[in-house]
């Protein structure tokens, strides 16, 4: 009998040694990921895929390094990478065996499968650093476009975010939000639709508004709904009304938090809130003006409070930072967004004019009268100051003038 145990013990021992030696080889194989030879890279990807599924200790490090390969130009490598991630995260065979134990209805079966997959994905996302998050975003965008995410996955994600499923920690909820954001960059309508938007506002901005990091992540997700439209397609900017409840909530969070100096994520949250207001509101200036005045009032109030003398200098620092962020966003807003809007409007006007000209000439009028029509049209253009040659300059000049002079030296706000 002891011989049996001896044998078993030896087997476990060699299994452990094998496991350890594979772990040691992981850093060396990660170097192969940077090779110029694409077969090397593909073999390395395949290795990490198996290593991770067999739960080798630091295989996760290899997976994280693989993420940056998403930007490679080699088609074979990209395909191998996408396939590896689908196999690891979206078709986990271990999850299938876990679920078989629960004799549930088919709907629940699918849902539990999706839940386990999302849980694995969230665990990975939480360990990534800033650069790797950008790679992960591109990866998830491509997976979404390849239709690897089902509706069930999305439902599970929303439920995890709202912490409706049992045993979801705040960190997991944040990971779910980040993944929703990544999918939204491929499909902005996911967040633009009203129910989801209200959901986000209720969960992040009401129930958990004291978690500044979550608010910052929420704002980043909202920013994904924004895209600069192409001139030719004459799309409209996606903008919300300035009195939308979203902006009210964001304003309140920002103004109330300026005197709370204990949370280290304030800078992150403040810059993302300002960005959201500038990107998504139709008239950001009014909201921003209110924010500035209210913050200023809150700081002076807290400075007069005899207990809080030491708190105020950090708040003043926050306030100054806020002014800087507003300046940069304003520049972005005027230079890029407003100019783009003007260009689109001019494009639409020109298109209308051209179609009118075409309609007039196809009506078969005599040449002289059509010439006079054209000269009438061009006179109108000159009167409007919008002739095709110089349509951009007066607006560009006006915008530069606003940037250079009126914002900082004008009397109306600061």
């Amino acid at each position: 009998m002891f011989l049996q145990y001896d044998d078993l013990f030896k087997r476990f021992h060699s299994a452990l040694e094998f496991h350890e030696s594979i772990s040691i080889s992981v850093p060396k194989i990660s170097i192969l990921l940077n090779s110029r030879n694409s077969t090397d890279v593909q073999e390395a990807i395949s290795f990490f895929k198996y290593a991770f599924r067999m739960e080798i200790e630091n295989a996760i490090v290899g997976i994280q390094k693989m993420l940056k390969l998403i930007f490679t130009k080699e088609k074979a490598v990209k395909e191998a990478l996408l396939e590896a991630f689908v196999e690891i995260y979206l078709k986990d065979s271990k999850s299938e065996t876990e679920v078989d134990d629960n004799e549930d209805a088919p709907g629940n079966h699918k849902k539990s499968l999706a839940a386990i997959e999302i849980r694995n994905l969230s665990n990975m996302i939480l360990k990534l650093n800033q650069g790797e998050l950008i790679c992960a975003e591109t990866l998830i965008q491509q997976l979404y476009e390849a239709k690897k995410f089902d509706q069930i996955h999305l439902r599970v994600l929303w439920e995890r975010y709202a912490m409706k499923l049992a045993n979801t920690s705040p960190e997991e909820s944040r990971a779910a939000l980040i993944i929703i954001g990544m999918i939204a960059s491929a499909e902005p309508t996911l967040v633009r639709n009203d129910t989801n938007m209200n959901n986000i506002i209720t969960v992040s901005l009401e129930e958990r508004k004291d978690d500044y990091r979550l608010v910052a992540d929420t704002c980043n997700v909202l920013l994904k709904t924004f895209k600069i439209p192409a001139t030719e397609s004459m799309e409209q900017f996606y903008k919300l009304q300035p009195d939308n409840v979203l902006f009210q909530k964001l304003k309140n969070i920002l103004t109330n938090s300026i005197t709370n100096t204990s949370n280290s994520y304030w800078y992150l949250m403040a810059s993302s809130i300002i960005k959201v207001i500038y990107y998504l509101s139709e008239k950001p200036d009014y909201t921003i003006a209110e924010i500035i005045h209210k913050c200023h009032d809150n700081i002076t109030k807290s400075a007069k409070d005899p207990e809080n003398k030491t708190v105020s200098d950090v708040s003043v620092g926050y306030f100054i930072f806020l002014l800087g962020e507003i300046a940069v966003c304003l520049l972005n807003h005027l230079d890029l967004h407003v100019m783009k809007e003007i260009k689109i409007r001019q494009f639409i006007k020109e298109k209308d004019l051209n179609s009118k000209k075409q309609a007039k000439s196809t009506k078969g009028k005599r040449k002289s009268s059509s010439k006079s029509d054209k000269s009438m049209v061009s006179n109108e253009d000159d009167d409007d100051g919008l002739g095709p040659n110089n349509n951009e300059d007066p607006y560009q000049e006006q915008i530069s003038k606003i940037c250079n002079e009126e914002v900082l030296f004008g009397s109306y706000l600061i």
């Binding site: 620092g317 300046a327 914002v407 900082l408």
Partner: protein, 202 residues
């Protein structure tokens, strides 16, 4: 805002407020050319005189961005940015190297004589400074090998001798740079230039 930023020694205002103020002042400068003209002197002084290294590294990065936005306004302060390559603090050196490599490789500024300061960093004991410096020269050589030929005489004059690098570092740096040279045609003109410099030596 300006008064807070010009408090270089931290007498009147606390560190946090000064850091925010310098950064915000730089952001205001990206917005408005008029503001830039008025206050660029303050930013340049901050770069030289401020005691806090975070403020100085932020100022360098802001200068880099301002050079892209308003090149004509900031041009004659480029000398000050190059002198930050010799700063004592590691973070400041590293940031100025990154900013300057980006600007020079994008042809936004011409380093002229200051290139010797970047060359000196090629043999810096810290690998996270010497490897970007080497990468910079490799990229510069890829872009146009003639640049290295043109800069070599300046580098040699500035860094040799008693005021320059210690002997072993100088040799290592020169070996590295010579390895980057490609064609033999320019070598003759290089030799001529170096010989003409001998006349100026003691």
């Amino acid at each position: 805002m300006e008064s807070i930023a010009s408090d270089y020694f931290g007498d009147k205002y606390s560190l946090r407020v000064r850091r925010s103020a310098c950064l915000t002042m730089a952001k205001f400068m990206t917005l408005s050319m008029k503001y830039t003209r008025k206050n660029r002197v303050i930013l340049a002084d901050v770069l030289e005189k401020s005691k806090d290294c975070t403020i100085r590294s932020n100022a360098i990065i802001s200068f880099g961005d301002l050079l892209l936005r308003f090149p004509n306004e900031i041009e004659h302060y480029t000398g000050k940015i190059f002198s930050c390559l010799e700063d004592k603090d590691f973070q400041v050196k590293s940031n100025s190297l990154k900013v300057l490599s980006r600007l020079v490789l994008a042809d936004m500024i011409k380093p002229k004589g200051h290139i010797s300061k970047i060359a000196a960093l090629v043999t810096d004991p810290e690998s996270s400074i010497s490897s970007p410096a080497r990468l910079f020269f490799v990229e510069l050589g890829k872009k146009n090998n003639a640049y290295i030929y043109n800069f070599l005489p300046d580098i040699i004059s500035n860094l040799s001798g008693s005021k320059g690098l210690p002997e072993n570092r100088f040799q290592e740096m020169i070996t590295f740079l010579f390895e980057l040279l490609e064609k033999s045609r320019n070598t003759e003109s290089l030799v001529t230039k170096l010989c003409s410099r001998f006349n100026n030596t003691k």
